[in-house]
């Protein structure tokens, strides 16, 4: 069995679970500037308060998993992306503590609102920049990063950062559509509509720009007949975009978030197709990066047994807190 490939898929699942789940947590914060009423912000935060911590755990699994099964990729990517990684961690600190601190004070509530917004913005932006930096490729010599200090920062990687910020806003908005009602919900529909359109524009731009500047990626996508199967992705992009916009227009509460996830899944697939088989693009393949087989097997046993259990109790938590958040119930003790 190809354990390295299995693990590449599992790590992708973890990263996608992170994006799908923490994406709406971060997105809610990114929408705060357009939702100014304190009561609205209270409700928005309380839609995710019971689950954000579990959502963020997927990021820990992504990092820890990479160290465990692709230690070489981990030890090259982290120094290569040093500044955005550190920035993301610091951003997540400001974001994470805001969930508790915000309700501990009246005077400084605004300060922790700001901490929530800016922390989330830095985290989302950094994550997008890292994706962009990986698409650009990373220089390696003798099992170590050998590029420059600012290689990760280019107009393209910054654009990817903005795209992820917009994408998370869309996820946040569609999540709020599901979890709120009244004016707050109406405003969320609107936010979902605008962010969805902007996001699709960003996806289209990246999809056209990358093959234009990068012959390797162009070859991957436009070699007849080998690439024909991949063209289903742009077709799906059109279908899902229309589905998302229609469901927002028709005020179908639960559907926009799922369509939105579809957009992320497509982008994720596009990213995977563009870098495969590399984990550190153009330098280290997933097989070169893989840990010795007995490390892969040892953790795989645990993952196979435990991931379904994790999905079960995570699902249970979401079920306990299902339905709309009532703005009138809240802060009594």
């Amino acid at each position: 069995m190809d354990y390295a490939l299995i693990w590449a898929i599992l790590i992708s699942v973890a990263v996608f679970a992170y994006v799908a789940l923490d994406g709406f947590d971060l997105g809610i914060a990114l929408l705060f500037p357009w939702f100014k009423k304190e009561e609205d912000r209270d409700v928005m935060m309380n839609t995710v308060a019971p689950v954000w911590d579990g959502n963020e755990t997927w990021l820990v699994l992504g990092g820890g998993g990479l160290l465990a099964v692709f230690p070489l990729a981990y030890s090259v990517l982290m120094p290569a992306l040093y500044m955005p990684v550190i920035a993301m961690l610091l951003g997540l600190i400001f974001r994470g503590v805001a969930f508790e601190y915000r309700f501990k004070t009246k005077r400084a509530k605004g300060v922790w609102d700001l901490s929530f917004i800016i922390g989330s913005l830095i985290a989302a932006l950094s994550q997008g920049i890292m994706l962009g930096a990986m698409l650009q490729g990373i220089e390696v010599t003798d099992r170590a990063y050998s590029g420059g200090w600012f290689d990760w920062l280019t107009p393209f990687s910054f654009f990817c950062g903005i795209a992820v910020v917009i994408g998370y806003m869309m996820l946040g908005a569609t999540w709020l559509v599901m979890k709120t009602k009244g004016d707050l919900q109406r405003q969320s529909y609107r936010a979902g509509w605008y962010s969805a359109i902007l996001l699709v524009a960003c996806i289209a731009f990246v999809s056209l720009y990358l093959p234009y500047v990068d012959s390797y990626i162009a070859e991957r996508w436009f070699t007849y007949p080998a690439s024909v199967g991949l063209w289903v992705l742009p077709v799906l992009l059109v279908v899902i975009t229309l589905g998302l916009l229609r469901s927002l227009q028709k005020r179908q509460e639960g559907r926009p978030y799922l369509w939105g996830l579809g957009l992320f899944l497509l982008s994720f697939a596009g990213f995977a197709v563009s870098i495969f088989p590399y984990l550190v693009p153009r330098s280290i393949t997933l097989w070169q990066a893989a840990a010795p087989e007995n490390s892969l097997k040892f953790l795989l046993v645990g993952a196979v047994v435990l991931l379904p259990i994790i999905f079960a109790y995570t699902g249970y938590t979401y079920w306990v807190f299902r339905g709309k958040v009532d703005p009138n119930s809240g802060y009594h003790d």
Binding site: L59, L61, A68, Y74, Y82, I93, G302, V325
Partner: protein, 462 residues
């Protein structure tokens, strides 16, 4: 401000700083999570409302501390790569899967049930809520299990071989996980977490008793904490001694530094005070008890105790740091034993809540567990130097190829952010602790199936 330091020193300082800050929160939440499980269990069994009040009092404090632990912990899981990439590449195949298991068995469990524990009181029945609390408490302990296994493997590596690209490869997972120092370190750390929290709880109880000694909630808190002090503090001394003997066997240079023993000698002295001087290899201004170290380490006054002279200079840990951190840890441990015995005596005399000197002493002891935990970790981590994996990989050979300016920048950012953010969190926690536990109000448990989504039911406006 960093002219005189190299990139390696800054990376070490950054790791030390971020992990020292981080360990405060798990040490606290491991203990509080168990305390909460005990309180809720006792409430369900006895239906005494004071346990329910105490549960709700401490769960708010727990929530803030847990949040700080989560965000400072994520930093750790990425910092191995950002700053210690050579170590990650070489040791990843061994320690990575253990940390993977930590995430899969502990972090998800804690995080998954935390939401129900904090916000689900009026949504699930009280039995399910107790179950969620138990899962959070168990999760914190499982997390300690794995991460201490990782740390212990770095101290006393076992069950490995090297492959052709210089990575550590596992030959026996059982030997890796249950490496020689692991059981001692795990027991020592878990007890430390429980003791730390016992003294925090005791201090909060004592603080409110000093204002009103009839405060029933404060009395209950103080009494529970002092039982823990009486039983667990002496137990910790015993476990600590076993841990020390294990270190003596596997890392004798560390113990030599802890004891300030530069020379190998029979009837080795125990230094009560002194300034170890690495240049002259002597302890200046020493105040010592001849033969006592031989008794403690070998249980024989005439036994020969290994000194640093048995090791080449380049393998010495920084002696003074280890020597002093060890004395601080042991000193606090003995004060904890004292507090336990004193409270036991007062309890026997039926005057546990009446002695204001004991109450004041307990308030003073409140933060001491944290000091002891950090001092203890300095002993074991600085004592491991100059190795990151003991005897196998030097710290100097393990760092990332990041230049000095880069590490200096991130280090300054961490220092500023940590003091700001965790300073604010500590302030909010202290304010919660200053609130009177007797005045906690109790909302109803759900008697019916849940209908509405998250409500933040446990917060008062401060």
């Amino acid at each position: 401000m960093f002219e005189s330091f190299d990139a390696l020193f800054l990376a070490r300082f950054q790791f030390a700083f971020t992990i020292a800050f981080h360990i405060i929160f798990p040490a606290f939440t491991i203990g509080v999570a168990s305390y909460l499980a005990v309180l809720e269990g006792l409430y369900l069994k006895t239906r005494n409302p004071v346990y329910q009040k105490l549960f709700r009092y401490w769960v708010k404090i727990f929530a803030v501390a847990f949040g700080m632990g989560v965000v400072s912990g994520i930093v750790m899981s990425y910092q191995f790569g950002t700053n210690w990439s050579v170590f990650s590449d070489k040791a990843g195949p061994v320690i990575g899967p253990l940390m993977g298991y930590e995430v899969l068995t502990a972090f998800f469990l804690e995080a998954g049930f935390l939401g129900v524990m904090l916000f689900g009181m009026n949504k699930v029945g009280e039995k399910l809520h107790f179950f969620a609390t138990l899962m959070v408490a168990i999760g914190t302990a499982i997390s300690a299990f794995w991460i201490l296994s990782v740390n212990s493997w770095m101290q006393t590596p076992a069950g490995y071989a090297m492959n052709d690209v210089g990575q550590f490869v596992v030959t026996d997972w059982f030997e890796v996980v249950f490496n020689p120092s692991f059981p001692y370190r795990l027991a020592h750390m878990l007890l430390a977490a429980y003791l730390t929290v016992a003294f925090v709880v005791g201090a909060v109880g004592a603080w409110h008793l000093l204002k009103d000694k009839t405060n029933a909630a404060a009395r209950k808190m103080f009494s529970m904490a002092m039982w823990m002090a009486l039983i667990v503090a002496p137990l910790q001394v015993f476990v600590g001694d076993l841990h020390g003997l294990n270190t003596q066997e596997y890392q004798p240079a560390k113990v030599a530094a802890m004891e300030g023993h530069f020379d190998t000698e029979a009837r080795a002295p125990l230094y009560l005070f002194g300034l170890p001087n690495e240049e002259t290899a002597e302890v200046d201004y020493a105040l010592k008890v001849p033969g006592l170290a031989s008794i403690i380490l070998k249980h024989d006054i005439n036994a020969e105790v290994t000194g640093l002279d048995q090791f080449p200079r380049e393998d010495w840990p920084p002696v003074a740091t280890v020597f002093w951190s060890f004395r601080i840890m042991v000193g606090i441990g003995l004060l904890m034993v004292l507090a336990g015995l004193w409270s036991g005596l007062q309890r026997l005399r039926g005057k546990l809540y009446d002695n204001s000197l004991l109450l004041r002493f307990s308030v003073f002891m409140g933060p001491m567990g944290f000091v002891a935990v950090i001092a203890g970790w300095i002993v074991t981590e600085v004592g491991r130097q100059p190795w990151v994996i003991y005897g196998l990989l030097r710290t100097a050979d393990a760092a990332s190829p990041i230049d000095k300016a880069g590490v200096a920048g991130s280090l300054i950012a961490f220092i500023v952010v940590y003091f700001l953010v965790f300073g604010a969190g500590t302030f909010y926690i202290l304010r919660k602790m200053a609130a009177d536990p007797a005045k906690v109000t109790i909302p109803e448990y759900a008697k019916h199936k849940p209908t509405m989504a998250a409500e933040r039911i446990y917060d008062e406006e401060a």
